[in-house]
């Protein structure tokens, strides 16, 4: 019974495929999986938009949307209808082909990255040997669509927003990759299902999730910072800051293309949270060994929605970072910390089981963090700002 609840989607797929001749089954299975992903994640996106607007509203001491449906739950339906019926305006001198392709490239690249996430026991679309690398490759492709959007609009605000966004995404891509490498080192594989299985072990009632180790916690925090920056989410949302750049690189988009960009951004958040869950929070494994009877996919999606809540919380609470503060933070603080984290992970592995690994690794990480933070603060010149103009 428990096994059935856990594998309910796998069994459902097998039952649906049993109606087809045997030759068609592999292809139809893949199509079924793809359709499931295309249906589930936009539905979660709709739920998240309501959650975000209500959540931000409550943080800002207001109610948020409450007209459409009970407690404003049907707001995404209203938003969808609005975006479908709005006029699609393309500027006269804009590059029409690129202007059209940019949201498509974004959404396609982001949907592709869902293919390697293990959403439950035996629930991966494609179990690739180099799955993690595939995910990052698809993430890198989204940067190009941001640039295409900004450049094709023939608008200085869009171009500025796009260049800021691409610079930010490139810088934090390095941080993202480096903080994931420590996980790969310890679990010994780039295959995401293997990484989850390594974390699915329990000592007593406590799980072996990587976030409960010193290097894992440091890595997870850096991963969260990099993920927030990669998806252009507050406090790193200068490229699309509403009070700064009109709407950044999607200034000239209206109607359904704007909705596609919005969808792409939120799906990117889902994908990156899904990867963070897989790498650090144990993927589909339960937090305590006695909770193993709850289906694995509930844990995965629960952790995903928890990550979304943390993103929304950060958006409502933290002020926006300036562009140079953002870049300084990435290159001068977080990147050296990821390198130190890598060495600490190796040290963890070499010290073996026992108290030494916990004490030494924690001590090194805390010491480096405090020292680097102090050094950075001391070099901050709090005086009149010196400007450097572009020639």
């Amino acid at each position: 019974m428990i096994e059935n609840a856990d594998q309910i989607f796998v069994l459902l797929q097998a039952w649906l495929l049993s109606f087809l001749p045997a030759a068609w089954r592999p292809a139809a299975g893949v199509v079924l999986d793809v359709v499931a992903i295309i249906c589930v994640f936009p539905a979660l996106f709709a739920l998240t938009t309501v959650l975000e607007r209500k959540g931000l509203g409550r943080i800002q001491n207001r109610i948020g949307p409450n007209r459409v449906g009970p407690l404003g739950i049907l707001q995404p339906v209203a938003d969808g209808i609005k975006s479908l019926t709005k006029e699609d305006i393309v500027p006269l001198r804009a590059d029409a082909v690129l202007h059209f392709l940019a949201p498509l490239v974004l959404v396609v690249a982001v949907f592709m990255s869902f293919a390697v996430l293990p959403m439950g026991r035996n629930m991966v679309l494609v179990d690739m040997d180099a799955g993690l690398l595939f995910f990052f490759a698809m993430g890198a492709s989204t940067e190009l669509s941001v640039f295409m959007a900004g450049w094709s609009s023939r608008n200085k605000y869009s171009l500025l927003g796009a260049m800021r966004a691409v610079a930010q995404m490139i810088s934090y891509e390095v941080v993202l990759l480096m903080s994931s490498v420590s996980v790969v080192m310890i679990s010994g594989s780039l295959r995401l299902t293997r990484i989850v299985e390594e974390q699915n072990q329990y000592s007593g009632i406590f799980p072996h999730w990587y976030i409960f180790t010193p290097w894992g916690l440091a890595g997870f925090l850096m991963y969260v910072v990099a993920a927030t920056a990669e998806t252009n989410r507050s406090p790193f949302d200068l490229p699309e800051g509403e009070s700064e750049l009109v709407a950044g690189y999607f200034t000239e988009y209206s109607g359904f293309k704007f909705a596609l960009f919005f969808l792409g951004e939120y799906l990117g958040m889902f994908a990156i949270s899904g990867l963070g869950t897989t790498l650090f929070l144990g993927g589909w494994s339960a937090p305590f060994s006695f909770l193993g009877w709850v289906p694995s996919w509930i844990w995965f999606f629960g952790k995903l929605m928890l990550s979304m809540c943390v993103f929304i919380w950060m958006r409502g609470t933290l002020p926006r970072l300036r562009q140079d503060q953002l870049m300084n933070f990435a290159w001068k603080f977080v990147l050296p910390m990821t390198l130190v984290n890598l060495m600490v992970t190796a040290l963890w592995r070499f010290l073996g089981e026992g108290w030494e690994q916990w004490v030494f690794c924690t001590a090194i990480l805390v010491a480096v963090y405090v020292l680097m933070g102090r050094a950075e603060m001391r070099s901050e010149h709090f005086g009149p700002r010196r400007y450097r103009y572009a020639e």
């Binding site: 180099a130 490759a137 890198a140 103009y389």
Partner: protein
């Protein structure tokens, strides 16, 4: 047994003719490359080059070289293409050059390119006859690549790391000189 007298045929790894997927990907790559040199708008050329990179990555994936394929996407499309695009943007060469896109001595250029292609093709086909016919492609895991990099090829790895560090320091120095010049 070596097939020395066998003329080269367009067969895949198991003797069957190359699949239609290969021809499509090859057409995509060649089309992207052609568009990259023939389009007027420089940013369009850069994006067509990106399509050519994607085609190359797909060819790697067709040969089951997963790591090479994804690394190609990550590095070429995720970094090199963006670098090219930034370079075009910052040097403001978006308009077509005044003298037209094609150079005047295009016939000579075509002849030289054809000659180089002929030499390369001849060299490849000569060695293709001498290779043993394997029944299936070898499966190379990421672990094997890692072990090879850290074991047999560690010296080239270190030299490349040194080269990259030198490039990084050079870039910082060039940018810093500008900073000294400005206010």
């Amino acid at each position: 047994m070596r097939d020395l007298g066998h003329p080269p045929v367009w067969t895949g790894k198991d003797g069957k003719p190359m699949s239609i997927a290969f021809y499509l990907v090859a057409a995509l790559t060649v089309g992207g490359g052609l568009a990259a040199v023939m389009l007027k708008n420089t940013v369009h050329c850069a994006l067509a080059l990106t399509v050519a990179f994607a085609g190359l990555a797909l060819l790697f994936l067709q040969l089951d070289a997963q790591f090479a394929g994804f690394a190609q996407i990550l590095i070429y499309i995720g970094a090199v293409a963006i670098l090219v695009v930034f370079a075009i943007l910052l040097t403001r060469s978006q308009e077509a050059p005044r003298g037209g896109v094609f150079s005047k001595s295009w016939l000579t250029g075509l002849a030289i390119a054809a000659a180089v292609f002929a030499v390369l093709g001849w060299a490849v086909l000569q060695t293709a006859n001498l290779l043993p016919r394997v029944s299936e492609a070898p499966v190379v895991t990421v672990q094997q690549i890692g072990t090879a990099l850290m074991g047999r090829y560690v010296l080239p790895l270190e030299i490349v790391a040194l080269l990259l560090t030198a490039a990084l320091i050079g870039a910082v120095i060039v940018a810093m000189h500008e900073k000294e010049g400005a206010q």
